[in-house]
Symmetry: C2
DNA sequence: AGCAAAGATGACCGCTGGGTCACCTTGACC
DNA sequence: GGTCAAGGTGACCCAGCGGTCATCTTTGCT
């Protein structure tokens, strides 16, 4: 049999370790936010600290890897919902998914809210997400089921806002975000549009790809 | 002349230093959030590190002092607006004030969103704020100018949410929060009420005074 | 002016966290 | 099974943090 690859591929245990690491980091960052330490992550993964840094030269790199994973998942979710019959329901479902994701991940929230913490790949991924969601939003707009002056970026930004609204209640009423999601949706409906001030935002940060 | 006070009052420079300290800390926490360091605060105030700790035994104490100041200011603002003629306008004005305050203060946001970081006095002050805002909200509710299923606590929570929504745009569109405030207000209006899920929240955290 | 006490000071401590590196282990190919 | 480079390891370094304390300075009273 011919060589599997021209250059010998990566070692088997390396791939395994990378997985362990990403999983551990996901957990740690979700629970402790940006304060999660590299040492703790190594321990969770059952690996040595040095190994973490071999895979990800800086903490920021590791964080980005995880953010990209999540953003991708959300963009995928948005894409899949494009096929749904009911545009309004699809949008609500996407938003529910998004808010729940945020509620479960502290680091994600912290990074989303502060572009200065994002490396360019993350910013690009957010921009991509905005594009995907804009498609979803456009459908709802065209069907006159939401007001015509909101964009995909508005929706993405609202995810963070809705979560933040309910965040202080997380301990006592973990489902409180549903209340504020519904409130936001009421604001998005088309019945009684008050003109929104401020230009609709472009992607949160323009990045030269 | 009789003694100025029974027990000799605090020294003059101490009061001055306390002021300097609070001002410096306000600035530092606003800019850098909870990551602001005691050393940096001392430097800003032009004092030695030890002095900071003489006035506030722990970082948490200093932080609380500042939070209390701000929460008080907001509660006062809410109280004053009770006299306004137009309940809807008063509510909008209060919310604008609140969101702007949040936008200007990183630490405030971080603490508001996480009750676990709040010492009991701060929780009490938040509860007080909710009460004050409930009065404002009740008027608007009674005048049928906002839906009848939102409470003062909802409004207070929304402040954080609205700010968070606009936070990623702070660099490029510092006024973007106005857009999302208007969106939220549209959701609060009475025209087309969809029933909100989840019980209306009590004060974010119940505290035994 | 002199004095005692309240207060200011900054060197110091212990600890944690990101990141490095010289050395050891292991997987993959012969 | 032997070989060797890719990869794993953890002791180590350093910076910055919250917090302490013996010591010096200032204030306000007499």
């Amino acid at each position: 049999m011919a060589a599997t690859t021209g250059t010998t591929g990566p070692r088997a245990d390396m791939v395994r370790n990378r997985r362990l690491l990403l999983d551990a980091a996901t957990e740690a960052f979700a629970e402790q936010g940006l304060d999660a330490s590299m040492g703790d992550i190594a321990q969770r993964a059952g690996l040595a600290k040095g190994t973490v840094f071999r895979h990800f030269p800086t903490k920021e790199d590791l964080l980005s890897a995880i953010m990209l994973r999540l953003l991708d998942r959300l963009a995928g979710s948005a894409g899949r919902l494009l096929d749904a019959d009911d545009a309004a329901a699809a949008l609500r479902e996407f938003m529910a998914d998004g808010v729940e994701t945020l509620a479960a991940d502290r680091a994600f929230c912290e990074v989303i809210g502060r572009p200065s913490l994002q490396q360019s790949e993350v910013r690009d991924a957010i921009a991509d997400l905005c594009v995907a969601v804009e498609a979803l939003t456009a459908r709802a707009r065209d069907q006159r089921v939401i007001r015509d002056d909101v964009t995909g970026t508005d929706i993405v930004l609202l995810l963070g806002g809705i979560h933040q609204t309910a965040a202080p209640l997380l301990d006592t009423q973990p489902q409180a975000w549903r209340r504020y999601l519904e409130l936001a949706l009421d604001g998005l409906r088309t019945t009684h549009p008050s003109r929104l001030p401020e230009a609709p935002p472009g992607r949160p940060e323009i990045s030269t790809r």
